[in-house]
Assembly symmetry: D2
């Protein structure tokens, strides 16, 4: 496969480029009977949209999809959802100069190396606008997960040198995240982060960061024991997003410093949960042996600084001759704020898929024998 | 799918548990005509084997597979390779006590939550012996990759507080890695690491660490631009291994601290490469837009400390009642040394798969038109 | 998976219903560099279109797709092709009465049984308009196959009691097929078939038939030996079309009457072919052991009479109560003429997929060793 | 994929050749908790075994597998089942002469054309012994289907010119089928068939035939509406078996002769079924729109005469030079009797897969909202 589909049972396929007529995506495998309408997609699409604040690109895009199929009388009908996003703001003149030169940090060169040539307009298929399909599909996955009591949330926990951590991630609310455009739930840290992004932007530079994600309400038992471990599918999901450079869950890279006696999360009774068992701590990030434990699922990912810079950089042209490039256009000085809904979407897609996979193999039918 | 297969075109499927009769694996999709024999599998299987040194478990296992099919007259014949690993040392008495109690950090509880019951002998399907199939398949993948000039290598770069880093990962050799049982190529650091593991073991404890992996010779153009980015498939591959808690490539999590002007790798002419283009630095870890760039592919992963401890730990039994557990048996105090061949195998499987995927879509046939 | 994708490497995914806003399809995995434009899709779409003659429904549909992506400067660029077919002629009043009653021979009842409810407008997802996506994707597959010297053709060989057979299927041309609206290449038989269809139509009835398909130029070696035999994937492809009730290749069901000494096709030298080997006869329909032999690939399929009849038929309503139904609307009295481009499309999709699969595993790279 | 796996959720993967050490297969995705033991596999394996009567080859094979994994304390445990079939009777001398000559009707030539060379011993990967894995996996699928009230049965309905048909296929029992070695449930016809096979065998020839298959108890709602129609997956399943040349379901090819008014099956109340709806007749073979209707699923398939003949036949050698070949060894003069358990197995695999697929998307969880 050429890699334009994601998921086994809850499955997203996408096509489109940022400066063509538009994007289409197909969401296959959604259970029938789920109440769903365009209004369920719009909030996350708005969170992803460029031009939300001075922290992000001022490019205006048409982000309201047309739902072509899959919903009848307000409910999913079991057939695939077809979504169409038309492109509107196609200033291809901004990108004309990059056709023959390779932008550092971008996929221009590797596309040429792979396919022999490429659509240079707006980054072509590697444009971040492709994530619009993911966010829409993720919103559908979130709606499905709600029926199982599962919710997904993400926030910015680092911008450059400014870090913020919480010991109670399960208490963070969407409102807290959305209170500032930088999407860090701590107001004081958020102010510092925004100031830093502004500073970097004025310096014609960009900056990286990191984000935290949590899924609450996932019952014990989702995930597969060997290759399709829940942690493995989450890692793939996040790393499939542009600019993501690292993934860790639970204790993550800090586990490398620890002793087993420090790291092990001890089991204890957990009344009210089914089964009534929990752990005293959650360094395992809600997953043991690739299967959810009933504890919150916790991941952290890093995102590199935007590659497009309004500065001269040395590079080569398509023939390999040295040259210089200045990437004009409107670019986010920091990808993190808009990355949050993208990451949530990918997490939701993985969980929705594993919900259905678990139901397929371990559904109630057989147990009743 | 229940997750016991890995890869799209170069595809590994496995079955087996550590205390049953044995493991089988099927490697499907290997090109015909590849010279291959059992002698190609043995070195990596030996590197994975328990009991190599006092750093690892003294459990003896039968690690020599029987190749049932797929090779004719010393070459792969295009049909699937079937491999059989018989189990020999099945001291199931060591594990009898854990049937009704949940070992902290293990998958006992989550298996029960998922499947309703489980095979408790030796960890059942979640036993690390399952990786024997991966290492064997990885050795086949390495042999295939050699025909393309690609090689894969890993080493230990951290044990607890002891870290070691190199600015020239491409210069590390297999001999350097194998010189000490801890598989850190720097002799001085290796001695310290081994002393630390010994100390931890005598303390009835375990310790975590991290490992670095490199693939050299990967031509520009492997990988898929959207969901099956090379970095995404690598992340899944590593996270599908037991105990791995984090993945980063290139600059990884340190990218979160950086400015774009620091992070971007500038293109420059690279005579002798095809195309003759390279980058001055390699913070992108050999992948741009999910596609290989021709630079070395660089990943780092973290591994948690062994969960099995020869100490009393509190836990619960299957009914959720508090109890205590002492995990007897022979366990690695540190997983890192034996993790190296496993990680290399997963990296090789991903690259072999993407080699074939790239050839399928972008092979020579069409370009000749 | 919910079954809205077809193919492993050359992969079609579709969504849409006949009385919603439109259909979308995504064609993933097409090699880059293939010259392609909308003009390559229109001829087969025109052959599939309703209203071509009095033999078929007079319903007018918009059959010209918008190509959203995947082509740059007149050539495929290796990224997925997104196609949009807008619906125009949506006389949903014709279908209003069927919401609560189950039409005999249709999927109304089974959709309700599966999904709990359904979109009744125009047959919803089971509308034959869904094949528009297949025909468009098939036209792309045909273009790809042309680069390998492969072409695909089908024709009507039976309408009711009127059969026509040729001993030289490789000599039939597209022009001969298209000479009459019934798509039987023999003019005299075609006249009789058209008369029979007219008669049936005037009788408010419908009629079944059969069609023959041939692929010429397929080199020896395409197909997989075990589960994904070329004959198996062709069988699935044809049977996935609405109303197809049977598939046979080569000698087909007549093989049941034969002795081995009659049936075996004897090998003989075939100068000019590579390898220079052929068979004296072709009862094996161009496939041996699931792999193409270099001879023409020959299939025959049967199609049931249209289920929609302008007659009163007894049936039940959604509650299972007996009732009567008269299916109004404009329906083909015989599906065969429009089935030809659909069958060709499915055959082309299978062959394009196996071309890429063969190239992936058995491409030139390794053989050069 | 190289085509050695079958099924999406209930998934069989196989490896092995007839004259190597043995076969392995992996059955992945089976629900946990299914009572299962070797005794569930043996009856169908015995039905498939060569040497059952003078009608079939006298070759003796070891057909009792070792179950390596997936069962704990008499029940499936949700992990993959690994099965090992050792080969015993490997008279490779019988096959020595065919290495350089192409047997008519066999896959020798196409394997060479695909892979460049092949294992000639016993037909290598294209040996019919490969079906041993399918029959074993099919027996597991049958056991799973039993829990849903579904059973599968097949019988011989044609040998050469001798045909036998029943209007009440649902009344045929396994006992009736097994009463004679030819597996035709009608005793008088069976005697004639056996006489014909004997006659053909004495004439050093072989003969073709056809078989009927039925699945009873399949609830309405299994199958997918578009590409993975139940009829399509069944067609692929049967055609993936060696020597099968045609597939039809319900009215099949006879539908080509019919009017819609004759063909449509009218709905009527069917008390006791859920939903309480059935059809007066079953020309639709239990499937409408690719989804099961609750009526019996009915298929018929044709099988060519055995290609191996104890007669001189002209052919070519590997270099394309004319030569003659006499296929020694012990071969079935008619494949049909042993084909019955193979066909049943494939039908059961398809139904088990679609049971899980249906449960994944349309399970109870969501409907309860």
């Amino acid at each position: 496969m050429a890699g334009n589909s994601f998921g086994e049972l809850f499955r997203l396929s996408t096509a489109g480029v940022s400066h063509g007529p538009g994007y289409v995506c197909i969401v296959d495998g959604c259970p029938p009977g789920l109440p769903l309408g365009i209004e369920d997609l719009l909030p996350d699409l708005a969170r992803r949209r460029p031009g939300q604040s001075h922290l992000t690109t001022q490019r205006q895009e048409s982000d309201i999809p047309e739902i072509l199929s899959g919903i009848y009388q307000g409910r999913t009908d079991g057939t695939p959802l077809g979504l169409l996003f038309k492109n509107s703001d196609q200033r291809s003149k901004d990108y004309g100069s990059i056709e023959a030169k390779y932008r550092p940090g971008h996929a221009d060169f590797t596309f040429d190396a792979k396919f022999g040539f490429r659509d240079p307009r707006g980054g072509g298929r590697s444009s971040a606008r492709e994530t619009i399909c993911r966010v829409a599909a993720g919103a559908i996955a979130k709606k499905l997960l709600q029926t199982q009591g599962v919710s997904v949330l993400g926030w910015v926990c680092q911008i450059g040198e400014i870090l913020w951590q919480t010991s109670s991630p399960e208490k963070i609310t969407l409102d807290q995240v959305e209170k500032t455009p930088v999407r860090c739930p701590d107001p004081e840290t958020a102010i510092k982060m925004m100031a830093l992004i502004d500073e970097v932007r004025l310096d014609c530079d960009s900056i990286g960061g990191a984000a935290q994600f949590i899924a609450t309400g996932v019952p014990a038992g989702w995930g597969e024991p060997v290759f399709d471990k829940l942690k493995a599918d989450l890692a793939k999901a996040f790393l499939s997003l542009p600019a993501v450079t690292g993934f860790e869950y639970g204790s993550g890279f800090s586990a490398a410093f620890m002793r087993g006696s420090q790291h092990n999360d001890l089991f204890e009774p957990h009344p009210g949960r089914n089964p009534a068992i929990g752990t005293k701590s959650n360094r395992h990030g809600g997953m043991l042996g690739g299967i959810s434990s009933g504890e919150d699922i916790l991941c952290r990912t890093s995102v590199k600084p935007t590659s497009s810079l309004a500065r001269l950089q040395t590079t080569v042209d398509q023939k390999g001759n040295p040259t210089e490039i200045l990437t004009k256009g409107r670019h986010d000085p920091c990808l993190l704020p808009r990355y949050i809904p993208m990451g949530e979407a990918m997490m939701a897609l993985v969980l929705a898929d594993h919900f259905l996979r678990h139901r397929a193999q371990c559904g109630q039918t057989l147990q009743n024998l």
